[in-house]
Amino acid sequence: MNERESLFHRLSAACGGRGAAAGEPLAGVAPMAPEDDRVALFAKAFTAAGGVLLRGPVEAALSDLGEILRAEGVAALFFPEDDAAAREIAEALVPFGPFTLTTGAEVRGGNAAASAGFRTAEAAIAETGTVVETSAGGKTLLPGLIADVHVSIVPAASVVARMEEALAVFTAGPPRNISFLSGPSKTADIEQTLTVGAHGPKKAIALLLE
């Protein structure tokens, strides 16, 4: 008997004889709230998680975003080559700079100092104020991982009410990485004092496209 067989031998002896696995009935997922409510709830929860939410007319949002990025000392705007919406936003921000554009070779190499990473989110969750970004279809996760500031582009139609809805898409075959991002990287490991930017982005921004 190999180690695995022996484990299952022990487990079956310990928990067996109690009938078949019941599983659990699926959670009663709340009926889909109207889009306006979902978006408003997401905005509230994302802000509560420490994120910065920008919405409204794109021109005004871009100007605000440019100001935030300058205040954070951001010099480079980093977007995945295959993410058209992220590219468009990053390019539109250049006049608010001085910013340079990059698709990532140097960021990947580890020189990610003072950069903002842009990416289109796959979904957002109203319940928790979460932005969902995955590796599905060969997409990169680096903009939300190693940049100092992360800008998620969230189409309003992609906001779902609860976590179950965001996961339902993936239960058949999840990609390697499904990430729930809720606000900036945080730590309270020193004297219980909440501090941002432990490892991931110091600032998490969601740009809501309505």
């Binding site: 299952f8 659990e24 959670a27 996760l141």
Partner: protein, 470 residues
């Protein structure tokens, strides 16, 4: 991790005299409790979610063989390599072999209590691999050469001054009293490690059986970084962490961060399934999952099986008056607080940790806050009784308890003793209370007087009040 649980009494005395620790505990546990209570109050579905989570976990324990087999099958289907270890020795061998076979010299690790259980770091170091802790609290503890004192906040006992001294000595950083600066120093140092490490090591908060996914919940983003950047990902996880389906995950995510820190959700939840796919620009080429039995299947067989429902939130630690007073090190192993007082004896054997079930006032606060409804006070009491049956109590203690039980079972005898005690007590203490008792009773009277027995026992007064005279 070295086991020192039976020295709880000595450890606790030391902890009570440690000024820095007492300050840190005072500052932290109260805040954790307040945040948790506020988050629960703001979430009306908490009770229903808790009940649901408890039922799911019970179903998992009833069918752990089925769910675990499914998990392994799905994970392997997606490219992961699954290993199982019967005990810590075997787990260490497997971990070292994985590192050697993968040609790893530097590993970055995020927090994993399971890895602590098997002394993972030592095993890899013996195999010539440098292991860097990437959770800020664990990193600080690693620099200090200590063991973590809290499931969630391992450096809870360290002040910023102590941490700055550590960073000066080990990282060559200038001294600072600024916490953001300290965090920035660790970030810079650890970022370089993430980018050069061959292997990222993680624990696992949940294993989804229907998809073969390992789920990690973190606030710092270290778990995320260590499972995306390095070439190899190794997850070290206890077999009881399985949940039936990915669709069950939200239930647990609604409980864990709220119970731990009062957050609605942690900053990062990573759901990791298999290796990187063709066309993925990053992600590990190899994924190993090391599943630990290490005493769990034996627990599953017995009357304490519900302890395996634990999701390691640490709410019971923060709520426990004993933990609040002595902190985590006193418990002498990986797990502390009420969960440690039950789990440690079950995992390492009661004779090795018989002192721990006594480290409780049985106040019940732990059961009140447990998000998966583990009956911790019942288990503590039951373990005390097991300890007696196994002859792990001193003859004096057994005799005292036998005597106590004998009296408590006979109402007449109790009443007679109460009356005599009342008369003698008033006579000798003149109503002032008892002080300065000799050993072994000195513990009761060292710092305060023991109240003198009342002239008229309560039960007597009750009877008179109700008009029963005899």
């Amino acid at each position: 991790m070295e086991l020192n649980a039976n020295s709880f009494g000595r450890n606790a005395r030391k902890a009570l005299q440690d000024k820095t620790l007492q300050e840190a505990l005072g500052r932290t546990t109260g805040r954790f409790v307040a945040h948790r209570d506020a988050a629960v109050a703001a979430f009306p579905e908490f009770e229903a979610t808790r009940e649901r989570a408890s039922r799911i976990k019970r179903d998992v324990l009833d069918h752990l063989d089925t769910y675990l087999a499914r998990f392994i099958e799905e994970a392997e289907k997606r490219g992961a390599i699954v290993h199982v270890a019967r005990d810590a020795v075997q787990a260490r061998e497997i971990a070292a072999r994985i590192a050697r076979d993968e040609g790893v010299t530097l590993a970055v690790k995020s927090k994993s209590m399971a890895a602590e259980e098997i002394s993972f770091n030592e095993a890899l170091q013996e195999a010539g691999v440098t292991v860097v802790e990437s959770d800020l609290g664990e990193f600080i503890i690693q620099l200090a050469g200590e063991a973590p004192s809290h499931i969630i906040a391992p450096a809870v006992h360290k002040t910023r001054e102590e941490i700055s001294r550590l960073f000066e000595r080990h990282l060559g950083e200038p001294r600072t009293g600024s916490i953001p600066e300290l965090v920035g120093m660790a970030r810079k140092h650890l970022r370089a490690k993430f980018l050069s490490a061959g292997m990222g090591v993680s624990g696992g908060n949940f294993l989804a059986a229907d998809t073969g996914s390992v789920v990690l919940v973190t606030n710092e983003g270290n778990g995320r970084m260590g499972t995306i950047l390095p070439r190899v990902h190794l997850a070290v996880v206890g077999i009881e962490k399985v949940i039936p389906r990915l669709a069950d995950l939200p239930t647990f995510l609604r409980l864990l961060p709220r119970s731990t820190s009062g957050q609605t959700i942690s900053s990062y939840v990573s759901i990791l399934t298999g290796t990187r796919r063709a066309g993925d620009p990053e992600g590990p080429e190899r994924m190993h999952i090391l599943l630990l039995d290490c005493g769990r299947s034996a627990i599953l067989e017995g009357k304490y099986r519900e302890i395996l429902k634990c999701i390691r939130c640490a709410a019971c630690l923060n709520a426990c008056p004993v933990y609040q007073s002595v902190g985590g090190h006193a418990y002498g192993w990986v797990y502390s607080g009420p969960i440690g007082a039950v789990l440690t004896p079950l995992l390492v054997g009661l004779p090795e940790a018989a002192a721990l079930p006594d480290a409780s006032t049985l106040c019940g606060a732990c059961a009140d806050v447990c998000p998966v409804k583990i009956p911790l006070p019942d288990f503590l009491l039951e373990l005390r009784s097991d300890a007696r049956e196994q002859g792990l109590k001193t003859p004096g203690e057994i005799a005292a308890m036998k005597g106590y039980a004998g009296v408590m079972k006979r109402a007449g005898l109790l009443e007679a003793i109460e009356r005599i005690a009342g008369v003698l007590g008033q006579l000798f203490t003149k109503g002032k209370g008892i002080g300065g008792l000799p050993y072994p009773f000195s513990g009761w009277t060292e710092r305060r007087d023991f109240p003198a027995p009342a002239a008229q026992p309560f039960r007597r007064r009750w009877k008179i009040k109700r008009g029963v005279t005899r």
